[in-house]
Symmetry: C2
Subunit: 316 residues, 2 copies
């Protein structure tokens, strides 16, 4: 009987650790998730991840070839050592070694933005695209860069930190300590924060501000219905998202810039005004430039990318 | 007798058209230049360039294999069609075709920033460097990007326009129409313009402002002697140059960022405060990051890069 080849992909997030299995054809055949408990001791989190893998290992005996893990943090060049991780207690952790020790399975680790980009490049909106950028608009702005069909790695493994590109002067500093970072203007959190600021400044609405926690989806929905305050905030978001995207076009000149993360659910309500903004900021009006598209894989991009990493590295 | 292989490199600037010849070993064996007269009719400028080449052709009979030409403008992807050129009358010109028709020699055309980068990568400070950025600090900020030992070309041939990356809010708009472009803060022209603004605002010096045309070198020299106004302007320049460089580090994570153009003549007076600024803005303090170095080839970078382009393409 022919051996069935499977690869586990694990996407570590601040809230959940998601896990999936792909088969040889890259189809997602299994999916589950557990809470991250990201502020616990590192060892407890590692044990949880290994437990999840070992469970799958005994469920699919002899079929799992390798593990891929996506981490929302900074990973040293050899893609083993997790240098820094803002939302989960993985600081200076040899993730590859720790998981291999606990599971006996070959393990590969990468930044979650790179892996979402890899997934979109393998089976999503970036399939067959030679030069591309994926931006995930969430708490921050993450993503990855593809140049000549390969993930941009950089000299030290710390490229594609586009969220921390300074694009203007903002009324608050970014978590990284700088002022004016792209993600402090054009992430979901930035949209919420600026809307809250407008509400605070508004005589009519300032009292409403604390009634309910505002989220990005509620702001987008309100903007869609024509709400003036929501539209003011959303326009500012589109403006800065456009500035950041045109910066990337001027530097990288990709074929496609794809947008993922929760805010990409706004669909055409996002892409239509954004395309207009981008057109208005281009260096040369009538020169060919990157298409702006929505990412395809949604929340699965993380686990798919991690599993594709495992498959790619196992075959290499 | 063995044939001697030579390549002509031509660097078209707003003021001069410079020309050089390299031999098979990449040594510059001949150099001359003529005024550009860049606002004349396109055909007159093309005839001048072809005249220069034909003169060299009869001086080095049978030795010239190919021509490389560097143009300070936007060139369409096939590196033939000059799309737009801000300082010289080359708009929608098929440069390759026009020069080949006039000289009978194989001709290759590229953007001057890319070619200066190619030269530094072949024989200058970027030799042997896998991932690098060259910034030329002049009237604007030009340059080129090397990724995995190859020039970054982009999808449409319009990458590496780093000078038009928006990095803040400026008190005047960039020539490109946008506000806040890197080159509107951190080019030689920007340094001059801001210094003039400070002089205009100064009660003591506003009358001096028009006595003499101020240039970047004079400002750097004044800053070196401790002049307060010059230092204020120079500090602002260093600050924004640092912001732009850290943006490029966050996006590309190169091994080296090299600085060329007239301002690079400031040497350590440029690199020392700049390195400090860059260190202070890094995402992760103690993570390896790009070294900042001075370019090596000075004004010859343009003709050398053009000649290397000819050599490379002729051999391909």
């Amino acid at each position: 009987m022919r051996k069935i080849d499977m690869y586990i992909g694990i996407d570590i997030g601040g809230t959940n650790i998601s896990c999936g299995i792909i088969d040889e054809l890259g189809q997602l055949v299994f999916k589950e998730s557990i809470p991250s408990g990201g502020n616990r001791e590192t060892i407890a989190i590692l044990d949880d991840i290994a437990g999840l893998i070992n469970e799958l290992k005994s469920k699919f005996v002899g079929k799992i070839n390798a593990i891929g893990i996506g981490v929302p943090g900074i990973i040293a060049k050899d893609n083993d050592y997790i240098y820094y991780c803002p939302n989960i207690n993985f600081v200076r952790v040899h993730m590859k070694e720790e998981i291999e020790k606990r599971t006996g399975l070959l393990t590969f680790v990468d930044n979650d933005g790179n892996l979402a980009t890899l997934a979109e490049h393998e089976v999503g909106v970036l399939k067959g695209v030679k030069n591309a950028v994926l931006l995930t608009l969430g708490t921050g702005i993450g993503g990855g860069i593809i140049i000549n069909d390969e993930m941009l790695r950089g000299a030290n493994g710390l490229s594609s930190e586009v969220g921390h590109m300074v694009i203007g002067k903002n009324d608050y500093d970014c978590n990284c300590g700088k002022n004016g970072c792209f993600e402090s203007f054009a992430s979901a959190s930035a949209l919420v924060r600026y809307t809250e600021k407008l509400l605070d400044e508004s005589k009519v609405f300032s009292s409403m501000r604390n009634l309910k926690k505002i989220n990005a989806k509620a702001i987008v929905d309100a903007a869609k219905t024509g709400d003036k305050l929501a539209n003011e905030s959303y326009s500012r978001f589109i403006n800065y998202l456009g500035i950041g995207i045109v910066n990337l076009i001027n530097i990288l000149d990709p074929d496609i810039i794809a947008l993922g993360g929760g805010l990409a659910n706004a669909g055409e309500f996002l892409t239509k005004p954004l395309k207009e903004k981008v057109e208005s900021l281009l260096l040369i009006d009538d020169f060919p430039h990157a298409e702006i598209k929505l990412a395809k894989l949604g929340n699965d991009a993380g686990i798919l990318g991690a599993a594709f990493l495992a498959k790619k590295m196992y075959k290499a």
